[in-house]
Subunit: 142 residues, 2 copies
DNA sequence: CACACTATTGCAACAAGTTGCAAATGCACC
DNA sequence: GGTGCATTTGCAACTTGTTGCAATAGTGTG
């Protein structure tokens, strides 16, 4: 799997080690790229496969993947903390409903358009930019 | 104070009661409109003034103010959860540094421009829209 | 200003998240 | 394949956040 190898080499380049816990976490996230994963889902998977990963390790590794811009944490109303794969050169931005917590990904065209709108924000680097919009979805619209 | 009365009438309209804890919280937030307040700051203030507000009440009231679009919760890297006043007809969007957690508010012109860029996102209501951009600040830029 | 009605609070038990430290282990080098 | 060493883990104690429920107290009405 190509992406998998990409990630491995990122870890290596930073002297980060590929432990069973990390391997499992990365695999699970890669297998659910389009989902916003809850901690419960992640923990359950790691329990049943790597069997016995302590929760502090799970938290620490999620933190690590965030720092590496591999995942992004989203705080979804009603649904709590979620983790979303964002490691690709593709764009990503999210529309989140303040009422029900539904999250949907934006598309490339819109991303480009918004990025352009931000061109005058000079003191802010748009490298690995990610954007979150909070409004109301069709169902919850008022 | 004008804004204060605005908020009070919003509460009234929803059958929400003005308890000491709520009054204190609202006052504190109004007095620090341009800060991202930490829970510690809020709690400390409420302890020393209203003396003895249970933490569950603090959490519940913050949740309430979020639902009313009076404050917004921001998750700042390194700094944790913060609460930011957003209740005015003025626009608000934030630039957050993924490394150090520095948050800065955007301005009206940019907001308008970005909002326009979002015009084709039809299934998403931009009422009380708020936007968060994650990138890197000048200091942390790489 | 007392009453009734319902929203809100405090409490206590629990769940989720954090941290320092000693033990374990991945990995580069031989 | 063994060795050394820095990274990572598990553990345990702790802090932070959540929830159900009974007691408390705002608020509108007369």
């Amino acid at each position: 799997m190509k992406k998998h190898r990409d990630l491995i080499s990122i870890l290596k380049a930073k002297n980060l080690r590929l432990t069973p816990a990390r391997r499992g976490l990365i695999q699970y996230i890669l297998d659910h790229k389009d989902k916003q994963l809850s901690l419960l889902e992640i923990t359950r998977f790691l329990e049943t496969t790597v069997d016995g990963v302590n929760r502090s390790s799970v938290y620490r590794n999620l933190e690590l993947l965030k720092k590496l811009d591999i995942i992004q944490e989203l705080n979804l109303p009603k649904k709590g903390k979620r983790f979303q794969y964002i490691f690709d050169k593709e764009v990503h931005h999210f529309y989140i409903c303040k009422t029900c917590g539904k999250a949907s990904r934006g598309n490339k065209v819109l991303f480009g358009r918004i990025e352009k709108a931000l061109k005058d924000v000079h003191e802010f680097s748009k490298a690995n930019l990610s954007m979150v919009f909070y409004g109301y979805c069709e169902r919850c619209k008022r």
